[in-house]
């Protein structure tokens, strides 16, 4: 027979256009505006940090899959690329290169491939990498380069503080918000991203733009990001309305730190978030609440990374309790 044989397979025989690769690259595209802003603000450092993170993530995935696990190499599926990119977004621009490499190793080697690779990891790899670095190297990880508009140098980073850092330290040592407000960047600056912080987390507008793109492309649904931000706003709002001198207002909380990056890009990671909409809302409320608690009372000024990791751990539990309603069953009443 010249022509290839007839194919037999079970139904369905057609398939949608969507592939996991396309989804991954959609997320990458959505991160581009924020990356451009950080290029503008941090200059060359942003480029170096990001490319090192991406390259080392891809490289580790390749090496570990090929030589340690001896399985098929899947670096082209875009997931390692995305992990690298997100890791870079979550560290200060200009972090020592070897630390970025360590972070990538932790993210890919420990958090992802140890569990069997894409889809099986319980915790968000990029965040595990980031938290690992944060715990190990708190100095470098909180050495925020000053936002210098149109920076093109690779000069030593000038250390600045993040909005949340200023508030945390200030309040702990008896300051009030009124005193501190002078030190804080304006909300417009925060919106645009002209402030200190991790490489990709500063520009609220650019991140929102990306988030919007993802929603339009139906890569993510509104449930997680909106609920996270809403929970944060409500909780900080309550504290603020009780004692505005010792609690920052909700707007500052939403625009500062990794709130938006976390809500739109980290918490929505499909692998490590719940399946059902109901589960997503619970998950997101948890993230919002834990973030606020850590920000207000914890030792770390920013808690969204931890909050997401903690809630990641709860995802299997959420998934087994919040099932989709089965067709034809009376409204729920099903546990486990």
């Amino acid at each position: 027979m010249d022509s290839p044989p007839i194919v037999i397979s079970a139904s369905p025989h057609v398939h949608s256009e969507r592939t996991s690769k396309k989804i991954m690259y959609d997320v990458v595209i959505a991160l581009v505006p924020a990356f451009l802003v950080s290029l503008y603000v941090f200059g060359f450092n942003a480029l170096i940090t990001t490319s090192i993170a991406i390259i080392s993530c891809l490289l580790f995935e390749y090496l570990i899959q090929k030589y340690l696990m001896k399985t098929e190499v899947t670096i082209t599926d875009g997931s390692a690329l995305l992990t690298g990119l997100l890791l870079a977004f979550n560290v200060p621009a200009g972090l020592p290169i070897w630390m970025i490499i360590v972070g990538s190793l932790v993210a890919i080697g420990i958090a992802k491939l140890s569990f069997g690779g894409l889809g099986f990891n319980v915790f968000n790899p990029a965040l595990v990498g980031r938290v690992f670095l944060l715990v190990c190297f708190p100095v470098q990880m909180t050495l925020w380069p000053m936002a210098v508009v149109n920076n093109t140098t690779i000069a030593d980073a000038v250390s600045g503080a993040t909005t949340l850092g200023i508030i945390k330290e200030g309040l702990q040592f008896g300051g009030t918000m009124t005193e501190l407000s002078a030190k804080l960047p304006s909300s417009v600056d925060m919106l645009l991203g002209i402030t200190g912080g991790s490489l990709g987390e500063m520009s609220a507008i650019a991140l929102l733009l990306g988030g919007l793109y993802l929603m339009i492309r139906k890569v993510i649904s509104w449930h997680i990001p909106v609920t996270v931000l809403l929970t944060m706003a409500i909780m900080t709002g309550i504290f603020w309305s009780i004692d505005p001198e010792h609690y920052a207002n909700p707007l500052i909380h939403l625009l500062s730190g990794g709130a938006i990056l976390g809500a739109f890009f980290m918490a929505t990671d499909m692998v490590t978030s719940p399946m059902t909409k109901k589960g997503m809302v619970i998950f997101a409320i948890g993230i919002g609440a834990i973030t606020v608690i850590i920000r207000l009372y914890g030792a770390y000024p920013e808690g969204i990374s931890f909050a997401i990791l903690i809630m990641n751990a709860f995802v299997p539990l959420i998934n087994s309790y919040f099932k989709p309603r089965r067709f034809g069953s009376k409204i729920k009443a099903k546990i486990m």
């Binding site: 190297f137 708190p138 100095v139 909180t142 330290e169 702990q172 040592f173 030792a299």
Partner: protein, 198 residues
């Protein structure tokens, strides 16, 4: 091999014998170690005192002065030291709750003029490798022979003169706060201390 049957009598008997032997031997060992244990406990405190104070010859531990304050939860302990009846300084315990993981407790030895003789960290739960470096000479050394009246006990970031530990500003702040509180207490009761023994 033969096992004893599980009758009530057997069970009770064997348990009683075992507890008997255990009780006896434990009591015995306790008697043996009672003295060394107390010594070891004392030695720890004395060692700390010795480290922070100039030479002294009075029994510091029994002459502790406890002062109720608002700064710390419990009373503050002050150990005045004398050498041949002459006041040579005092060790004051200072604490701060604002460490990275809560309580930081230090013992500060002051000379009669109020300058710091030495500091020893008694308790802390700071991050290993960062905040815990407060125990190291590099950090402690900068306080030696400084008089808080003209040496601003604050980290440089807050306008003081103390070089904070790298990566552990919060721990350093707690430390300086504890030192400051010790100093404040010391200044408050210094006069009564010197007088009391005269």
């Amino acid at each position: 091999m033969s096992k004893k049957e599980s009758t009530f009598l057997n069970m009770a008997l064997s348990l009683i014998v075992i507890t008997l032997v255990a009780g006896f031997s434990l009591g015995f060992v306790n008697n043996l170690t009672l003295a060394p244990k107390a010594e070891a406990k004392l030695a720890k405190k004395v060692n700390a005192l010795k480290a922070v104070l100039p030479e002294f010859d009075n029994d510091l531990v029994s002459e502790v002065v406890r002062i109720k304050t608002t700064v710390a939860k419990d009373s503050v302990e002050v150990y005045p030291a004398f050498k041949s009846g002459k006041f040579v300084g005092a060790a004051v315990i200072g604490a701060s709750e604002k460490g990275f993981s809560g309580l930081v407790k230090i013992m500060v030895g002051f000379k009669p003029d109020g300058s710091i003789q030495n500091i020893v960290v008694l308790e802390q739960k700071e991050t290993p490798g960062l905040g815990t470096k407060m125990k190291e000479e590099k950090f402690l050394g900068q306080f030696r022979d400084k008089n808080p009246s003209d040496y601003n006990l604050k980290v440089s970031k807050d306008g003081g003169e103390v070089d904070a530990l790298t990566g552990a500003t919060i721990s350093s702040r707690a430390f300086t706060e504890a030192a400051q509180s010790a100093y404040d207490e010391y200044m408050k009761i210094k006069d009564s201390l010197t007088k009391s023994n005269n």
